[in-house]
Subunit: 369 residues, 3 copies
Amino acid sequence: MAMLLIGFGFLMVFVRKYGRSALTATFLLVSTALPIYLYAKGIGFFGQVNEEVERLILAEFGAASLLIAAGAVLGRLKMPQYILLGLLFVPFYMFNEWVVLGGGLGLVHAGTVIDTGGSIIIHAFGAIFGLGVALTMTTHQEFEKTIESDATSDRYSMLGSMMLWIFWPSFCAALVTPEQMPHTVVNVIIALCGSTIATYLFSVSLRKKVSIADIANAALAGGVAIGSTCAVASHTVALIIGILAGGLSTFGFAVIQSRQQKWMKLIDTCGVTNLHGLPGLMGGLAALPIIHGLNMQSQLSGIGLTIVIAFIAGLITGKILPIMEEGQKHTKMPKNFLTLNNKKIIISFKKSRFFSYKRNEISYFCIKQ
Amino acid sequence: MAMLLIGFGFLMVFVRKYGRSALTATFLLVSTALPIYLYAKGIGFFGQVNEEVERLILAEFGAASLLIAAGAVLGRLKMPQYILLGLLFVPFYMFNEWVVLGGGLGLVHAGTVIDTGGSIIIHAFGAIFGLGVALTMTTHQEFEKTIESDATSDRYSMLGSMMLWIFWPSFCAALVTPEQMPHTVVNVIIALCGSTIATYLFSVSLRKKVSIADIANAALAGGVAIGSTCAVASHTVALIIGILAGGLSTFGFAVIQSRQQKWMKLIDTCGVTNLHGLPGLMGGLAALPIIHGLNMQSQLSGIGLTIVIAFIAGLITGKILPIMEEGQKHTKMPKNFLTLNNKKIIISFKKSRFFSYKRNEISYFCIKQ
Amino acid sequence: MAMLLIGFGFLMVFVRKYGRSALTATFLLVSTALPIYLYAKGIGFFGQVNEEVERLILAEFGAASLLIAAGAVLGRLKMPQYILLGLLFVPFYMFNEWVVLGGGLGLVHAGTVIDTGGSIIIHAFGAIFGLGVALTMTTHQEFEKTIESDATSDRYSMLGSMMLWIFWPSFCAALVTPEQMPHTVVNVIIALCGSTIATYLFSVSLRKKVSIADIANAALAGGVAIGSTCAVASHTVALIIGILAGGLSTFGFAVIQSRQQKWMKLIDTCGVTNLHGLPGLMGGLAALPIIHGLNMQSQLSGIGLTIVIAFIAGLITGKILPIMEEGQKHTKMPKNFLTLNNKKIIISFKKSRFFSYKRNEISYFCIKQ
């Protein structure tokens, strides 16, 4: 649980002067996602989970994935849009979880995809969903300004990374059996150590200097990539996965990110592609050579389905989110939202000092205006 | 335990440039309260607790309540006065705990007041005690200056809130039976989600903008209010309690607080009335309709007694605290305090650069000079 | 685990504008030490530990000791030198652990030295090792500039202290039996409370003002000193040990530190002598009068051997570390290090903006130039 708020919240505050809004957004996203997931799973929506502790852990997994997705568009949504993002994300996430792990629609046999710590269904899903949203919503004027950071913000990001680093083992081990727990925890720690050292070496090698942003982000890639196989890999394999993931992620931040913006006309605020997307997919694929007796076809289908579902769901969400803003412009009521004090709130959004402040300070974050 | 120091300490640093002193004060308050409570309970002062773990958790509850009380006068006491505050608070707190929960004096039957997570005896008691102290100590010149905050401090406060948010479930579930734990934890999380969303909506509605101070504070009101009934309420009821508590608390911060200063001639530095006082009482009263077979008279007596004891205890403490300062002015020795190196310390307080620095920078915090 | 990174990382950022490098260094040190220790213990290097959880906890103890040692030279090493420091430290640490606790070389009977929470083998060893390194590496021009800190950095340090304060009980109780755990946890908390109050009183008494650095550091001395006897001391004895350790440590920071720099020609960046060295030795010696039936000779031998091994190991390491830098100057390859992309990295260090930035900003930290 600690992992959910602190770590992700911190990681997102690297945008200078944007810290408070990012923290508020994190609060709203988590507070939207958890009750919806808990309620939906309780009534058997996309598969039933009877034990309350397991339901809670799964809900926290979902909220983590939502925070990853939001990382791709962080700073470019208005506050109520984060709530809407949470409302739209959770059903898609549950659908994917049900299809890939629970045998939903009969596409993959239940239990044949190995993804203990969620490399595929949490990290890759969140990142690709976020990319889909970003792709639909990114506009031209956003390319003109660069996202700045300063020493204080970097230090905050590093703190967030350290928090995540520390809580990652418990996150991955949350649903393994008690006998597997020590092995899993040590595997995750070793993978994180591997990616941390690899990130340092690659960062110095690729950029000719230590980039604090690389360290704060790519150091965690080992935790992302070990997710699928954390309960079964040997320690040596965990170290190798960690090193490869750290290298891949650093390469992503140092080389791919700038080209991504040009080629795909896409801004990924927090670099979720490089931290969660690529290492997540790598982790899912790593299960193929590592696990004996694995159903290869299932694993590949699971990965492929996750990519497709996440991307389409992201595109749809990216189309829906701006409706709310349009609605506000024309003082039309957005449907199914804010039934409490509805009119008052919507009007207040338009006149609010909060958003006008944001418009001046970080106007390049605003969408389509 | 984590909840005690980090969360509260952070929440209190919202006063600009005052962060370091607030953190030191937190250290001193906790370090005074814990050993006294542990020792007193160990020898059977106001009821005996034999199991050491339970004694420790109860001591941490007491320290949390003390930090709440101190929040009302934060920034207006000198460092040794925080130690004295801790010395005076703990016996009063233990007395109230003994009367309300332990059947002390025969006023309420032991075990008939439902307050699992301490809405009444921790939060309401601490807040009302703090108000009593503040009422006695607030002077006229304090009204002239406003308490400022900046982006960095706000970000610190948000961090403190997130920490508290995350550790709140374990705090409430600390003394329930293992079977009740999952239900309790989910209830607390749902209540926190409810108050977070409600705080956002009410903050925008009442102030026409998002107030970061509202989010950092009122988002936690759900955790305060669910305390009494966290082990027995249904999830839906928990959500309703959370939403109501978030609304009530935000209303308190947005509307009541400024009037409180005028009407009651009272400054409540951290707004403990609105975060802990009102939601705490609400939580205690919420047990009446929720719990079947509840002894209504006991519950109401428990709440009433807590209000009376806390307020009188606060007023008494508010009268005693300034004696120490007076003592220093006339170089008289305060009694029963600082027996080690006594004279040297007292003299050093008068000449200290620390306090003269404070006098210049935040002179409006100083009392009666 | 949380203790490892967050707390120590934070404590080390007190050097102004140096925060990000200190956090990166912490990451690298921990990521180097943990896998090496785990691997070495797994193959039976200096004694075998079969249970994986115990091995992990012991590895974290080793990493904590390494962070203490690094604290003595923090800010005066280049990034790759921290990795080398980790590589050199771990075998020495394991050797000492094996000799003192495991009966290695037959010098001390296995199990006769009482050091449950590691006052001797973690804290004193780390501090003395660090002093040895610092003694070899400290140069003349480093005396000319003072280490500065500002309010933000101090607040960070306080946070680090609070984190450590909170996680200290779980650290000390990590390897005791479940029955001893409550008593141990309460002992550690009481010792921390004692040292916190003592630090405040001594700081005011010795300096005529409250020093935030004293509070942030010496408040933890109780946790260091109670380590050896945390499972067996009575609560009253724990309080006394805490108070004495807090006083000793504050005396160290206020009085000894400046003289240490003159007499021993030695700069101890984080004051590890005063926080970990002296209280650690005090804690080890405190076992003599406290524990009945203790083998006095073994306990004293254990302490003496730790001092000797740590100091010699530190001196050796201090001689080896600069070789790497020399190597870079002459573009020679350092041996056994950075086999991946080796040449490229070394060259990049020389031209890197990172280090040139550091040279300007905190040139007094650089070694031999």
